[in-house]
Symmetry: C2
Subunit: 576 residues, 2 copies
């Protein structure tokens, strides 16, 4: 198509409200428009990209025997009451009443709808396994939408649900899907995406993986081992700490530590190491405000996700008042009120002599040894991994922490939904069971933005050819020059005839600089420049957006050159 | 794919809650599943059909220079407040509050979102004309969803919006879109769809057309002329009535008509013709309950849409109480209270001597002549056309009334939205104007169901090949027979190799009758039956779902036969 007809404005100034590059470039390039908090419309440029991403995903889902279906955006509350999530999910789930006062929800995920769709179909073991998926809009009322398309409230998602009669069968399918996802990320041009073990959160189930694009603007912390293949989301990464015993236990002693309410204060006052101090972090259960104290070594932080999983219910940072059975700033595991439950992190194990709060205003214990002084101490893993930490896989102190954008996830759900929603099949012996589920998600818009974040320069995105809005950007920089116009027009027609997707800039009275700036913002991989100067030598200029190619090519050879270049770019993507 | 893997159950019994055939067949065939009132999930079979319909629509929209975009399902109320529709639309528009108590709506149409997307882009006349469209889910909280996919609450719709700088330009584009729609209906296999002039309703604007599939189960009444091309929706059809004057005016007389509260009672009591009686139908304005009386000739019905357009605001059937300034059963235009507004229909014009209520309990006037007895009588068109009525186009008494399903609509919106939402462009002389809009909709699911309603027999749908879930249905009715299985397997592989979409039924232990019943429910146009009996003669059976073809074909020629048949079926669709 001709650029002059393309709906969407391009401009130079970086919008003040864009904190990450992909967002700024996609606003500046006329890809998206803000409609409301976390809600955007897509201009034609972005729609062309998302349509290509969707088709790649569709092909890969069909290749692993997925069958495309469609679930509703709006669902009756009953469906979510069946699974229990109508009550257990917070206000990310939009609830409203329809005209007849029936309670409805907006789909933020579709496990319930999937089980509902196949509950009758899946009554015999002979129907298994099967997988259904959809590509559909979802609305999740996020508290803090951010970073353009990275975290929004309304988004298009591919969500897939597989059903199995055994854990082994699920695991086999899960492995196929794991590979399909890797192919998807390769095909959209970000083969560098890594998988990490993750926490399943509210989805239920056990084993799950996230596909992470390592990138500074990501919201997730990823733990990677530089010595082996270990990778995990911070929320799921096991933290291993080895304290070396001096075999020299001091006596337990309660001493006055006036105005020492922080670990730093206490260590400085007592001239002790932070590594032999005990830090208390206090939470309350959402349900009844009961106190839960997490004790970790002074130099570690609490991993709330792990703690929450251990407690088995929702918790929030505590408010300690004068009435509380806790003395803020002086909380320690020895002598703590039996009205509170507490957990001791692995990082405290094996510390000979520890400094810890004495549960008494202005006092700490020194010489505390948990194994000796507490009855039945149990250690649990509730701390965050640190840079340089010990790898749970190879055992070397080689962990590093990076930021990542989650571009996909896969979950082994187990029977959480089939049990609660009473989906059963009869096996070949006539016995009934709940099928075992897996689910597999990719956010389309976030993936587009992530590719942009990974592949751009200061002038615009550098789209991989497989998802670029067009394959070729043809600039006729002097359309008032008769020869230039004719050569460019002819090339345009020839390229279209050969099924090349071309955006053709033949705008009158637009400076070459403006044309190039626009081309940079559209990020089309192959660029052709037709100009009177080049035509004097009977050639056109052909270059790539990533600057790896920049050639003068004879007019007569231009078409073949481009067809070859295009083919090479596609095969390069598959041969990474 | 293999039928045994297809997700979705097929069954024989017609569901009790299905009032129309397409709904019953699409439930019985595993196309759709009820989720809630007017809300369905789509199984893979239906999704394959809707995907094909969407692609046909997309091609035709692109062909008339449409650019695909995407608007959000959820929008902030502010956007709809700008146009005024947040307040003017009833409870079909779902309104809710998000987690931060901001007012939101669910998109039931996207004029506001379209204007919002291009308001800045369209600031110069040089950008015009342009058209943007999307294919997206919508939710409209219908009071009475019915007939399966025909009238639902959540649906996928293609909605397009064009922008112009002159009425002439809009009309030119409108004509292009008019043709594109005809191509779409031809390509999906229902070229018999007709266009009718329609009322624009809440969309605003003037000229509009609906595309109607004439069908008994339709909700719309269509007025057609058997002598010329005139076609209109009942809501928009002009009603012409000619009363022949006898030039013999009687004197106005008020006479007692005890217990005559209906037209029939009065005519019978007075032995007069219904054609010289005056019927009153009473409404109230929604805003202030003020009475509005519509007078029509006794044998006509009031067309509420025309009346509503004339009144210029929402009205509802009146409740007449003892306090009302109206005497129920005895309401007439002569001597009516000046507290009520009234309208006299064209059908009353030229009646010499009329019977009409005397606005007094138990009394009617006879010999009423409106021109003589009322001051300044004006006649308006507020009655419904009747069978045999006069065609407003050719003037012959040749109107007939049929039922139709609306499968698409196109509107000339004018500046309703660009004015209210303050979208302006600067023309080449520097003056500012509001652009002129058109909008163009097609409901995808309703179109699929309409094709099914138009093309089915008692056993299942007869899908046109262009939108059929598969092109070929291959039945191996004795997969336990080695030769049958091999011939069928080979054909399956060959057909796939030649890009034929095949559904292959090689289920073991399923009776042939069951296989054929399933094939009928899937409605695939070409069927191949491989059986030991046919193979004795080295042939397979090839037939079409519409029964126009039924042949025995040698195994070796089967592939070519099918490829030719397939090609012919596609070209037949385009050559209707």
């Amino acid at each position: 198509m001709k650029l002059k007809n393309l709906v969407g404005l391009r401009f130079k100034e970086r919008p003040a409200d864009c904190v990450i590059d992909s967002h700024a470039l996609m606003v500046r390039g006329g890809y998206m428009k803000y409609v409301g908090n976390g809600i955007f419309s897509e201009y034609p440029v972005l729609h062309r990209i998302t349509a290509k991403i969707e088709n790649i995903i569709r092909e890969e889902m069909n290749r692993i025997d997925g069958q495309e279906v469609l679930f509703p955006v709006v669902m009756p509350a009953e469906l979510w009451q069946e699974s229990g999530r109508y009550d257990s999910i917070g206000n990310e789930l939009v609830r409203f009443q329809d005209r007849s006062k029936s309670k409805m929800v907006l789909g933020m995920t579709h496990e319930e709808a999937a089980v509902h769709l196949v509950r009758e179909y899946g009554q015999s073991y002979q129907q298994y396994p099967f997988m259904i998926y959809q590509i559909q809009r979802k609305f999740r009322d996020e508290a803090r939408p951010r970073a353009g398309m990275i975290r929004v409230r309304e988004f298009t998602m591919k969500d897939a649900y597989s059903f199995h009669t055994s854990q082994e069968d699920l695991e086999q399918y899960y492995a196929k899907c794991y590979d399909a996802y890797n192919r998807i990320f390769q095909r959209v041009g970000i083969p560098e995406v890594v998988t990490v073990a993750s926490d399943s959160g509210m989805m239920g189930g056990n084993i799950s993986h996230e596909y992470m694009l390592l990138n500074e603007v990501g919201e997730d912390s990823i733990v990677l081992c530089s010595e082996c293949d270990y990778r995990a989301n911070m929320e799921a990464a096991e933290n291993i700490v080895e304290n070396i015993s001096s075999n020299n236990l001091a006596a337990l002693e309660c001493i006055e530590t006036p105005d020492c309410k922080t670990i730093e204060d206490v260590c400085s006052f007592l001239k002790s190491d932070v590594e032999s101090s005990c830090k208390a972090v206090v939470y309350q259960k959402n349900a009844d405000d009961a106190f839960v104290v997490a004790f970790v070594r002074g130099d570690y932080e609490v991993n709330e996700t792990k703690l929450r999983n251990l407690v088995g219910e929702e918790i929030h940072p505590a408010e300690i008042t004068a009435d509380s059975p806790l003395v803020a700033g002086y909380i320690g595991p020895y002598g703590i009120s039996d009205q509170v439950s507490f957990y001791c992190d692995n990082s405290l194990k094996g510390i000979d002599s520890m400094v810890a709060g004495a549960n008494k205003e202005g006092f700490h214990y020194v010489g505390l040894n948990l194994e000796r002084d507490l009855e039945n101490v149990t250690y649990v893993d509730i701390a965050k991994v640190k840079d340089g930490g010990i790898c749970p896989c190879c055992g070397k102190p080689a962990l590093t922490i990076k930021r990542g954008i989650e571009v996909g996830n896969i979950f082994q759900l187990g029977t959480k939904y089939t049990k609660s929603m009473n989906m059963q099949y009869v096996d070949k012996d006539g016995a009934t069971h709940n099928p075992i589920m897996g689910c597999y998600g990719i956010g389309i818009g976030r993936l587009a933005a992530s590719v942009c974040e990974a592949k751009h320069d200061e002038y615009g995105p550098i789209w991989p050819i497989s998802i670029a809005p067009w394959e070729v950007h043809l600039c006729c920089i002097r359309p008032d020059d008769e020869q230039s116009k004719k050569v460019a027009d002819d090339l345009y027609e020839e390229l279209k005839k050969h099924n090349v997707e071309v955006i053709y800039d033949d705008r009158d009275g637009v400076r070459a600089g403006q044309m190039f700036a626009d081309a940079d913002l559209l990020g089309v991989p192959i660029r052709i420049i037709v100009s009177p100067r080049n035509l004097k030598e009977n050639s056109v200029e052909i270059s790539t957006r990533d600057k790896s190619v920049s050639d003068r090519v004879e007019v007569a050879s231009a078409l073949d050159y481009i067809l070859n270049l295009k083919e090479k770019m596609y095969s390069d993507i598959l041969n990474v």
